[in-house]
């Protein structure tokens, strides 16, 4: 039975359970609400949740785990075949899927010409289907059909059993509301734990693949190698240093643009601007923050790059070879970060107590002296936190550097040269590649790990500083 129908059936059983539970509770109390512990609906929900929670957990677990069990059971059939077992199994799965779509009796299908027929129903198989693959695929189909039936029976049994069990428990004295509320609280906790699960997922995905990478490529060469030249034919040199350099260089230029501009506009907006100017200019500036980074990437590639080329290129100063360069990406990234820096600094400057300003102004300082000598020093830790957050943003930014910085990994000081970053290389190593066993693809996970650790450290430090700073004046 398709999963969707099974799901709907479970919902139906739960709805029936609700109605029956409600009625049973009312009947037990002789229709007298005051003789019941909870409102009638709570009894109904009690039954419904007893049905839904275990059967949906079962459904999810089975669907998630069944493919692995099936793989395990079918894999021995392919044991004698040439080639990587994971690739063979993905072929088997694809053929199995195709056989289902063909809708013929599996035992009568011939391996010959099967590839073309599969292609007709929209299943692309990498190579001609061998007899062993076909046999394994047929076995896979049989097993997966069996698994589907087992799941249906099991889930329905659980749903009906739970409904019967919880209906039998219903008496007017049952503390139904408390039970339902406990269950809901459990669900709420589970939702909150998704955040932790995401982090665990990120860490596991990165670590497991990083370990696999270091098994095929020495870690010391990765961390201290000064050459980045992947070649899918083998013999790649995968040193991270040029990428780290490119990332830091571009981020530094971005911060050089964003921090002064962002900070000064925040100062102007919070200390000088009239209410009307502030009401207009602040949202306008924040529009810059709402624009997706792909737009900035295109802006860098097609507008800023060619414009810089006019000034610094062969026609002008002759320093620049192509439109994609460190300066292009850095400049555009800086523009993107202006509102980020300015709105964070704005909050921080506003948190400086007014009494400190009044004291300084009262002693005869001009507003700018007050800002430079009282407000900014007091806000400094918070601003440092904001700059660190902006740096973490800059390091993790992808689309601008993919489109604007070029693709060449090099260690150079010239900002007019094309360089590349960690994020850009993660994209280029993983795009359009299905084989995750070569060091050239696995290296992307190690790059991701490096990126994750660096930005995480920056974020933790920055959030800690900002939080401590806020507490200081609260």
């Amino acid at each position: 039975m398709p999963l969707g129908w099974l799901f709907l059936l479970v919902l139906l059983i739960a709805a029936l359970g609700y109605a029956l539970g409600r009625r049973r509770a009312l009947a037990g109390a002789g229709g007298n609400l005051r003789a019941m512990h909870s409102l009638p609906g709570a009894y109904g929900w009690n039954v419904a949740m007893a049905v839904l929670i275990p059967s949906l957990i079962m459904l999810a677990l089975w669907t998630a785990l069944a493919p692995f069990v099936l793989d395990r059971m079918v894999a021995p059939l392919m044991a004698g075949q040439e080639g990587e077992i994971s690739l063979l199994m993905s072929d088997v799965r694809r053929v199995a899927d195709g056989l289902v779509r063909l809708g013929e009796d599996v035992s009568s299908v011939q391996a010959e010409g099967l590839r073309d027929r599969l292609a007709e129903v929209g299943v692309a198989v990498g190579q001609d289907v061998s007899d062993a693959t076909l046999a394994a695929a047929a076995r896979y189909d049989v097993l997966s059909a069996r698994s589907g039936w087992a799941l249906t029976v099991l889930v329905l049994a659980i749903a009906l059993g739970a409904a019967a069990w919880s209906l039998r428990r219903i008496t007017p004295g049952l503390r139904a509301r408390n039970e339902v509320e406990t269950a809901i609280q459990g669900l709420l906790i589970a939702a909150a734990l998704v955040a932790i699960a995401t982090t665990v997922g990120i860490v596991l995905a990165l670590i497991s693949n990083t370990i696999r990478f270091f098994q095929v490529y020495p870690a010391s060469d990765f961390f201290f190698g000064a050459t980045w030249s992947p070649s899918f034919g083998g013999g790649s040199e995968l040193g991270i240093l040029p990428l780290v350099w490119g990332t830091l260089y571009i981020s530094a230029i971005a911060l050089l643009v964003a921090v002064p501009l962002g900070l000064l506009s925040a100062v102007y907006l919070s200390e000088y601007a009239s209410k009307r100017v502030r009401a207009w200019a602040k949202p306008m500036l924040e529009v810059l923050a709402g624009i997706p980074s792909i737009v900035y990437g295109l802006f860098a590639l097609l507008t800023v790059g060619p414009a810089l080329l006019v000034v610094f290129g062969d026609g002008g100063l002759g320093w620049m070879q192509g439109g994609t360069a460190v300066i292009t990406a850095g400049l555009v990234m800086g523009i993107m970060l202006i509102p980020f820096v300015s709105s964070l600094s704005d909050d921080i400057i506003n948190a400086v107590p007014q009494a400190m300003r009044d004291g300084s102004l009262g002693l005869g300082a001009t507003p700018s002296e007050t800002i430079r000598q009282v407000v900014l020093p007091a806000a400094l830790p918070g601003i440092a936190g904001a700059v660190l957050l902006a740096a973490s943003r800059a390091i993790g930014e992808t689309m601008i550097v993919v489109l604007g910085a070029g693709a060449a990994a090099r260690l150079s000081l010239n900002p007019f040269e094309a360089m590349t970053t960690i994020t850009a290389k993660i994209v280029s190593q993983l795009t359009g590649d299905q084989d995750f066993t070569s060091p050239e693809a696995l290296v992307a996970f190690s790059l991701g790990m490096t990126l994750f650790v660096v930005t995480l450290c920056l974020n933790i430090l920055a959030l800690w500083i900002v939080r401590r700073y806020r507490e200081q004046y609260e």
Partner: protein, 452 residues
């Protein structure tokens, strides 16, 4: 701040002026510094706003062209002898004629039009068709298959012009830029000029760009963003369906029920950090967990939606918690006071009052997800994938598709100015959606938000 400067560092101040009517040099210097500082601030703000204007101007200037397209209007004689020699008018029989057959018809018609208009050219009929899109024959074939009764008549069609011709009409392509172009020569442009004067070449609204599918690298004039838009739509359905309930549930727990303990602290720190993890890392997570591990289909909007759900969850949780916090405690106390349980107080009283804030946060989170590109590249939603409309709702979630920002990236990569124009046009479409979503968020806030 209270540190006294070292004795030697005390500047020797000139004696203040005797009159209060006349400012002394030092005061003037301080006032100048004040004005300068103020000017720096204003300057920084203006630079930021100028960048905004430049960015938006550059988008509009480069992108509006994508919404019009050059067409060549040709009366085409759909010869029965070529298309349907037996006169059956059966679509199956007519369908056997490939696009090559139609090419001949177009060639003949174009040659006739050129001759009738008195165009002087040394190009022969075969070369002349270069001014038309290579998809023109397919366009014609589709029209005939849709309505077989057209066979035998002379019908006027608006055929797409080639991308270079389109670029010339829009002013992007010049005779100089065609000097060593293999697709079109400057001589063709002379023909285009004369046909334009004769009214056969015109520029019309390009609805196909908004509704159409991506086209292969040779035919930028046919590429549209419609299919990618559908991909984005299905992704947003997944994001909305998962991140709203999960985010609201998590926020309710953290804000209303969570005891102060280490687990709660851990979750809170975790969420704050997840909000700042680079989006590409979520792409790696999606690749490793959903594709490598769980074998979900590559390039599917379902997977994209799952990744973007994880990405927007922290944003939604932060916004929801803020709006739950904004509901005054007196509401809770009143509910508890008349005998509601904690759960009833939250679900019957606090949550409904927080709904506007939650909606605003959700819309903004979704707008953020809609523009996100980097994670989609890793799960394969890029490349020539948005070429067909999904067959149905289930297929919409599972069959390979692109998304608007990924499609824009794809076009930007194709290194053909005609595709660049599409990319800018795609950005306009994307920004219109983002603008509408943000407007909706502002309206919801204005209309429903209550301040206590």
């Amino acid at each position: 701040m209270t540190d006294l400067p070292a004795a030697g560092a005390i500047p020797v101040t000139p004696s203040p002026s005797r009159s209060i009517l006349e400012t002394d040099a030092r005061t003037r210097a301080r006032n100048r510094a004040e004005a300068r500082f103020r000017a720096y601030g204003l300057g920084a703000l203006l630079v930021g706003l100028i960048f905004l204007v430049l960015l938006l101007g550059s988008i509009l200037w480069n992108g509006m062209g994508a919404f019009t397209q050059t067409q060549v209007t040709l009366p085409i004689e759909l010869l029965e002898s070529e298309l349907d020699p037996e006169g059956t008018r059966d679509p199956a029989v007519i369908g056997e004629v490939s696009t090559f057959g139609y090419n001949d018809l177009i060639e003949a018609s174009l040659a006739r039009v050129v001759a009738d208009a008195g165009v002087q050219t040394e190009l022969d009929a075969g070369d002349l068709t270069d001014i038309l899109s290579s998809g023109a024959a397919a366009q014609l074939r589709e029209a005939v298959l849709a309505d077989p009764s057209l066979v035998g008549q002379t019908v006027t069609f608006d055929l797409l012009a080639a991308s270079r011709v389109d670029g010339y009409v829009k002013g992007r392509v010049t005779r100089e830029s065609l000097a060593d172009d293999r697709n079109l020569s400057p001589v063709h442009l002379d023909v285009v000029d004369q046909l334009r004067d004769a009214g056969f070449v015109s520029r019309g609204l390009n609805l196909d760009f908004i509704t159409g599918a991506d086209a292969s690298e040779k035919r930028p004039e046919e590429a549209g963003i419609g299919v990618a838009m559908i991909g984005s739509f299905y992704m947003m359905l997944v994001v909305l369906g998962l991140s709203l309930p999960l985010g609201v549930a998590a926020s309710i727990y953290l804000e209303e029920f969570a005891p102060k303990n280490r687990l709660t602290d851990l979750i809170e720190v975790n969420i704050a950090n997840l909000a700042a993890v680079p989006s590409i890392v979520y792409g790696i997570l999606g690749l490793a967990v959903f594709i490598q591990f769980a074998h979900l289909p590559q390039s599917a909007p379902l997977v994209g939606g799952l990744v973007l759900t994880l990405l927007t969850l922290p944003t939604i949780i932060i916004a929801t918690r803020a709006s739950l916090k904004a509901v005054p405690p007196s509401i809770r106390d009143a509910a508890l006071g008349v005998g509601a349980s904690k759960m009833q107080a939250v679900f019957h009283h606090v949550l409904p009052l927080a709904v506007p804030g939650i909606m605003t946060g959700t819309i903004i989170g979704m707008a953020h997800a809609l523009g996100e590109t980097a994670p989609l590249l890793l799960i394969g939603m890029v490349g020539f994938v948005a070429s067909n409309y999904p067959g149905g709702v289930v297929e919409g979630f599972t069959s390979p598709n692109s998304a608007m920002p990924a499609q824009i990236y794809e076009w930007a990569k194709r290194a053909d100015p005609a595709f660049y124009e599409r990319a800018w046009g795609g950005i306009i479409v994307l920004l219109v959606f983002l603008l509408l979503m943000n407007l909706a968020a502002v309206l919801v806030r204005r209309r429903f938000e209550r301040r206590w």
